[in-house]
């Protein structure tokens, strides 16, 4: 990749989220907490999920986190929280699938801004195979925490 292509990958939206991440910090109460790492680079994330709603119609009430990582992983986690907080688990998982498909699309998948909002800024990152994992670390932690929360909560009663 050329210097211009690399600089283009770092969309202003990504740098904005990186400099001022949304929803960061660990908050209570929560139903589940996970710690995930990217062993190749040492990036780490501690992430908590609080669920609400009713059985079968659970809602993501809060996602809070503390993460150490590159601009791509930090920004992707920030965007992820925007996309899932306040949404039903089902909707949020559908959004994840859309994001994942874009990230594994080698830059050839046309993202849907209505679904992914700021997440479309990561379309260019998909052209850099080594960075796809960075963009998915936060999502991976959120999915694990949500799956865990679903097994252990009485829906909204932390």
């Amino acid at each position: 990749m050329t210097a211009a292509e690399v600089e283009a990958m770092y969309q202003e939206i990504i740098l904005d989220h990186y400099r001022a991440p949304h929803h960061d910090g660990l908050r209570a109460p929560f139903h589940s907490q996970v710690h995930q790492v990217n062993p190749t680079c040492g990036d780490e994330i501690e992430l908590r999920v609080r669920l609400g709603g009713t059985a079968g119609a659970e809602v993501i009430e809060d996602v809070s986190y503390h993460a150490l990582g590159c601009s791509i992983s930090q920004a992707a986690t920030s965007v992820m929280t925007d996309l899932v907080i306040g949404r039903s688990v089902t909707d949020a998982l559908r959004t994840y699938e859309e994001f994942r498909a874009m990230m594994h699309g080698q830059g050839k998948v046309e993202p849907d801004e209505d679904v992914l909002a700021d997440g479309i800024a990561f379309a260019g990152v998909a052209k850099f195979p080594a960075r796809v994992k960075c963009a998915l670390l936060g999502w991976s932690a959120w999915r694990a925490a949500t799956a865990d929360a679903l097994t252990r909560t009485d829906h909204g009663q932390p």
Binding site: A3, Y10, C41, D43, C70
Partner: protein
Amino acid sequence: MTTTSPSRPRTGSAEPLDVARLRADFPLLSRRLPGDVPLVYLDSANTSQKPQVVIDAIARHYREHNANVARAMHTVGAEATAAYEDARATVAGFIGAARADEVVFTKNASEALNLAAYTLTTGLGPGDEIVVTEMEHHSNLVPWQLACERTGARLRWFGLTDDGRLDLAAARRDGLVNEHTRVVSLAHVSNSLGTVNPVADIAAWAHAVGSRGAGATVVVDASQAVPQMPVDVASLGADLLAFTGHKLLGPTGVGVLWGRFDLLAALPPFLGGGEMIEIVRMSGSTFAPPPHRFEAGTPPIAQAVGLAAAIGYLQQVGMTAVAEHERQITGYALTALAEVPGLTVLGPTDNIDRGGAVSFSLADVHPHDVAQMLDGRGIAVRAGHHCARPVHERFGIQSTTRASFYLYTTTSEVDALVDGLLATERFFAR
């Protein structure tokens, strides 16, 4: 290569190597990358590039001499065996081994260190201690952790000073190496800090302790040392020493464990299989003497041949000259990097007892982002914790960017690195 930096004065005496001429021997170094920029390869501590003579030696082996070793009763089999055993002798000569059968071929340094950690600790138990350092590569840390879990022995380690050297004063004060110590295993040159450790002094200490009369066994991870400086196992005081071929201009897939012959002869087998046996019965087996006891299965034959060619190349260049070039280019880089705003070097900055790997942080730009930006300019560095997470933890840094140099590294490549870092710092600061 274009550079906007003013030319910097070189440190030290005259250039010990004709780097421009040497570079012509390495085909990959003339590659152009997307955007038609030249490759600036500053990742040799990760793996080195290969000169044409090594590529040719491997090709020639497969073209003309390929057969399995030691068990083929035919002409090419004899040739392959001779080439493989010649490679063993070449390695032995290169590191000052007393005899060729002190050289065990493994697949890499990690396997060599696992071999050491497994075989040296079979008789250990609670009350025994193994000593490593806080700057070890994971390959010289995890095998010992596993050995301690298996045996109940206790793992202890040399801590580090703030400037990235072993805290010898604290170790002496705490009696780190003592009559309970069975093994001391340490890096000769740190892959992350660049520190050259006083192996001979520590070996002397280790050999002087111990209730069993012989002191502790000293294992040296020389993966970063053997490529860049003359290494003599006898004067180092090591009992076992490990390194890998691919950082030494050789191919991947071949590593070396050197050991004092009497020590190797006393060690049990590590991996079982063909070639390492003497007599096999269903009721049990006896084992070949070293080195074959530790070389189960078909060994890395062509790779050993390639490694011997690499060593031949380095011997022709001269390891003293390689070491002096390494010292000069590292000094040049340390001076140049000091000009980059927000850059902090992890490890010694004084270029004394220092190898050619420089890890650093750049303001609060994450190393992955640094490496990505540099890659856009054709500059290859490593980003992460370089398989040495504890040392990063020691300095409170999650990860670093590492530039590492070899005999083919030029000052203009260091200038390109500095320009790339300045541009990266500006990009993320905007």
